[in-house]
Point group: C2
Chain length 187, copies 2
């Protein structure tokens, strides 16, 4: 059975983080839905890359996902935070012990803002570490605490996405993808 993954995006989402997550999870065979939190599907990401979502976040409300993974970027993460639909989907995911993940600004700006980092070790972009309630693991590039996975920035996005593949599909699949991508630093 395939794994369903939701990747929400917005204007000023960090495009390299969003695309790393989408690309690598799809390489693993996941069914990845890219959802805009705006009314329109096309967003302009933080460095001007124009991305077109598959659907609107509103049309994702009745779906369930094996993973919800949030890219960072500012103020993109604020747009994710301010989406009522995404907040509802995230809270349900956490209540149901589903896997959720965030990188860069998103752990603090989205997850912590919604109370979804309580009693979780987490990391985030260095610019946001001082705002983390529990920063004991903040120096790690990828942190897994139960169903919550966090990471630091575009330069850690491949490691983050490969960790998500490892959790959903196993270490062997993650290692195969890392090799095919010529990513030499882990596995």
């Amino acid at each position: 059975m395939t794994k369903k993954v939701l990747v929400p995006i917005a204007d000023d989402t960090e495009e390299l983080e969003a695309v790393s997550i989408i690309d690598i999870l799809r390489r693993a065979g996941a069914l990845v839905t890219v959802a805009s939190v705006h009314e329109r599907l096309q967003v302009t990401a933080s460095r001007g890359v124009k991305l077109v979502a598959d659907k609107s976040i509103k049309s994702c409300l009745d779906e369930t996902y094996d993973l919800i993974a949030l890219p960072g970027g500012m103020p993109g993460a604020e747009h994710l935070r301010d989406s009522r639909e995404l907040a509802a989907i995230l809270k349900r995911q956490v209540e149901q012990d589903g896997l959720y993940a965030a990188i860069c600004a998103a752990p603090v700006v989205v997850l912590q803002s919604h109370g979804l980092l309580e009693h979780r070790r987490a990391t985030c972009h260095p610019n946001f570490v001082q705002q983390l309630k529990d920063s004991t693991a903040a120096e790690s590039r990828v942190v897994v605490d139960g169903t919550c996975v966090t990471s630091r920035g575009p330069g850690t996005a491949i490691e983050f996405a490969l960790k998500l593949v490892e959790i959903l599909f196993g270490k062997q699949k993650a290692a195969e993808i890392a090799q095919a991508m010529v990513f030499a630093f882990i596995y």
Copy 2:
């Protein structure tokens, strides 16, 4: 004076490579033009990410660039190869000793096909190394030979883009960007 960079894209371009180049060169301050080699501006990249180009490659014919950087992906690289306009722009760039770069399938499928790797050490994706005329440097993650820069895959795309920043803007700028992105592996 700002640096002008051309990044051509097509259906089945590897999105993580394209976005790494665009994102990181824009972080450095380059004026990056994303150009579709198709009639339409929206392309569907190799893992289904929908990217919208800034303009068509036809409207780039009269421009000059400080760098032309080609993402890989298959058959995306074949679409780049088959664009007469891009071929003309690339050949002029090489004749005028301008900087040009390619990653993954593109060094072989685009540059070598057009005779633009003659007497150049280069690398490419492992799947294409056997087709490289001169594979003496093929194990390196990023190869600089004169005005030609080549690299291997999505997992080397950040290093590739940072090397292009280093050449155009200096090592200090590349190091600053690597740090801001939490890319720990070089600099």
